[in-house]
Amino acid sequence: TFQELYNRSYEPGTNQFSRRLKAFQESLKRHSHLNSFSYDGNGSARYGINQFSDLSPQEFKDKYLRSRSELCPKYGHLEDRSYNVD
């Protein structure tokens, strides 16, 4: 169902199928853990199967999480005086 829903075509019996199946099964375990922190009534996040469920966390990080952060000055009341404008 996942393959159909997200337009994947992994041939059963191949290495790729095994890898993706393992990543998918790990995702299901992860969802259980993540959802155990959710409480009814306060709008907590829900976690489950989506288009990334056949990726391992490392693969997901390598593909999609490529931003680096930079240190910025802490905001203070006087900061508004120094907009970086010509």
Binding site: A45, S53, L65, R66, S67, C72, Y75
Partner: protein, 213 residues
């Protein structure tokens, strides 16, 4: 401050995009912020070229990664005019920087960049004053996100993803930021994710920036 505010309600936010397998989230958040800042000034809402920033922002690594602050620094230093997306379309791979002949372009006059951790109240004011805010977050657990308000499972000071805050909502028991992502409209809440306000969840207030158009 209003209890709820979202730049989408003013019709100045372009539709959610997909970065596909290109690690150019940093460029998406910056360009999408400029699109809205430009429209807020009374101009038409125009889709600007993310690919132009991916290809040309030399202090970054294109689809291999980059930073919102570096991109804004580059835009501010060079006064490059961002062309329309239709003239410099997204290819999902880093390409050669080029300058299509175009009479239209949007450049920035400056930018602001601050750490608002422990000052998310002020950050809400700045969202209204400047327009959408480009932020970096720890989004590792977002791989599995379906909807609702993120309150756990991520860290501050470990940012790895850039997104754009378009609004906030404080009408319910848990106040939250309304955050635009670049993983397509089928992810999360029609492409958006909600992050709890007030505890610097996922480091959302650590690196906050906005372009001035």
């Amino acid at each position: 401050l209003p209890s709820r505010f979202d730049w989408r309600d003013k019709n100045v936010v372009t539709p959610v995009r997909s970065q596909q397998t290109c690690g150019g989230c940093w460029a998406f958040s910056v360009v999408e912020g400029i699109e809205t800042a430009y429209a807020v000034k009374g101009n038409p809402l125009v889709k600007l070229s993310v690919q132009q920033v991916i290809d040309c922002s030399y202090r970054n690594q294109g689809c291999n990664g980059g930073s919102t602050i570096s991109a804004l620094y580059w835009l501010n230093q060079t006064h490059v005019k961002l062309v329309k997306e239709s003239e410099y379309p997204f290819k999902a791979v880093t390409g050669t920087c080029h300058f299509p002949p175009s009479s239209f372009g949007v450049s920035i006059k400056g930018y602001v960049a601050y750490d608002f951790s422990d000052r998310e109240d002020v950050m809400m004011e700045k969202l209204i004053e400047f327009g959408p805010l480009a932020v970096t977050v720890d989004a590792l657990s977002w791989q599995d996100y379906l909807g609702g308000i993120i309150q756990h499972h991520c860290s501050s000071q470990e940012a790895n993803h850039a997104v754009l805050i378009t609004g906030f909502d404080r009408t319910g028991p848990v106040p939250y930021w309304i955050v635009r992502n670049s993983w397509g409209a089928s992810w999360g809440n029609e492409g958006y994710v909600y992050v709890k306000i007030g505890e610097n969840v996922c480091g959302i207030a650590d690196t906050v920036s906005a372009a001035i158009v």
